[in-house]
Symmetry: C2
Subunit: 333 residues, 2 copies
């Protein structure tokens, strides 16, 4: 075979390879807010390994990626967004029913009495959840949550909460989907609260959102079937509850999981101890200038155990400060 | 405008319409086992209405279709397939532990003592479920169920249970997906049992299977994360539990639901009382020659309330005998 023939063969091979995985060929453009470095390479190398023919190839239907939400896809400081929602709901309820202003646990929320709030028992917290998240149909709740999410602002950034999503993660979700992954949210947040914004914010449809939930019951109201949200806890989608719910809702062990706190420890363990190629990632909030810096001592999004376990498990600790060139979509590119 | 110009315009319109919905244009070929008639037309008319531009158009992401499994997608007589699985598991357990042969409720199952079985309390049934469906990892259970499903046969047809799926429904699932629907199973069957065959039998992946389930817990075993199946009931995905689980797992009200028994009544009510175009369907088992004939008096798959409510709700009652030219994939076309 002549050199020219060999070159033509190589060229034909390259064209065929490019045609077989066009998205992969274009991949560097897909993560523009990830700086070059070990974190970015860990992601692109992993995706290349599982999508290209070879010993680590994973069929598309098994490319399941699970993401925590609070602190992993959007901001969670100084308070979980859903807790701000809860406080605003208590305010609205007290306007309709002023007697609540003198009753605990509502009074502490209305007075922003942090000392009292810190002393709340689980029963009092549950009372707040029940008062704000039950006693209505799922559709009525979604309408309340959607209205709130379309107007509520974070005070530090003076932005809608739904604008405070992390641009590098939006890019990563799209990049994974372009490579045949199915992307799920598996978060401690209320499942019906999250579903009001996950499609528009992350491109993740309701059936790919797994979260915490209360109890509910089917009823016919005026001959129309509705789901009534009832008092009480149904599922707490945190810590060991995450892999249990992944099994219940998804039915496959993920091959990639991304979290940011000890609430994600068991999801990371479950994901990365399966056989074959696996990738575990942790957002480390170490950027007090552009966002927040917190880990071991934080009451919101505490990260200690998972940080200690990361080296042994090979989990990638992503530095917000060093690995992300841009935090929010409204930041300059 | 001349007649020739008019004809050219009509032709151009027809070509444009065909190009806009190629799958729809080819649709008659997609339901070859459905005989021409009111049931088949109800389906094709509904799909045309929701997929073509017009007042009833439904965006693809909202085209959610939910199907019951036992008696809707595969055979359920004379006994639910999972009950046969349970009995076979008790046999296997008694071989390993002969003392079980003298203990109730196991003895009645092993002796096929129908009089005793009929008297079982819920606690005794639960004891059978716990003994056969818990005390192992989800992966070990799936392996047991998969081995069984690959070899267990129905005695009347002398076929593997997984061959006793309804050919017209396989065609319908594919037809709906070709028109942008996402197809889900919402069944009283055990979710982990069903997931061992739903992908190969129906083209439905694990995350689109909603079912009943026990309790489970995350554990590290030899440093590997596993889900252990525990005794006790988690969710009963039947009657009112179906719409509740549809809300929990899917997060949208379906626009099409297909069932066959009173266990599907609430799912049909929930689906068809939403606003906009909706379609409810019921398989009526009225073919004792090719399959079985049963409804109001049957202990398995009883159909009475939903049959009574069908005319008022506009639900389509599909006659197995008259509407399906072929029942099983192995029947001659």
């Amino acid at each position: 075979m002549s050199q020219a023939q060999l070159n033509r063969r190589n060229l034909a091979f390259l064209i065929a390879a490019a045609a077989a995985s066009p998205a992969l060929a274009a991949s560097p453009q897909h993560l523009p807010s990830w700086r070059d470095g070990a974190s970015r390479s860990a992601i692109t190398d992993f995706v290349a390994r599982v999508t290209r023919p070879g010993p680590d190839f994973v069929p598309a239907d098994q490319r399941i990626a699970t993401f925590d939400n609070d602190g992993t896809l959007w901001i969670e400081q100084p308070l979980y967004t859903e807790a701000v929602f809860l406080a605003d709901r208590v305010k609205a309820m007290a306007q309709a029913n002023p007697a609540l202003r003198q009753q605990q646990p509502f009074k502490a929320v209305l007075d922003r009495d942090m000392a009292q709030l810190a002393k709340f028992t689980e029963a009092e917290l549950m009372q707040l959840m029940d008062a704000t998240h039950s006693g209505m149909t799922t559709e009525a709740f979604a309408e309340i949550a959607r209205t709130w999410i379309d107007s509520a602002r974070n005070t530090r950034f003076n932005r809608l909460f739904r604008e405070l999503v992390y641009q590098p993660q939006i890019e990563l979700l799209a990049y994974l989907r372009a490579h045949g992954f199915t992307t799920f949210i598996v978060s401690g947040g209320g499942v019906e609260f999250m579903r009001t914004f996950t499609q528009s914010a992350y491109g993740i449809p309701p059936q790919q959102v797994v979260g915490s939930g209360g109890k509910s019951v089917f009823q016919l109201q005026n001959d129309v079937g509705v789901i009534m949200k009832q008092p009480g806890v149904g599922s707490v989608d945190d810590k060991g509850g995450k892999p249990v719910n992944i099994n219940l809702h998804i039915g496959r062990r993920p091959i990639l999981a991304f979290g940011n706190s000890d609430g994600d420890l068991e999801m990371l363990q479950y994901t990365t101890t399966g056989s074959g190629p696996r990738l575990g990632l942790i957002v480390h909030h170490d950027d007090a200038v552009r966002e927040y810096a917190y880990d071991r001592q934080s009451h919101v999004g505490q990260l200690a155990k998972a940080l200690d376990e990361a080296p042994r498990r090979g989990w990638v600790v992503v530095s917000m400060k060093n690995d992300w060139s841009r935090i929010f979509p409204f930041d300059r590119a």
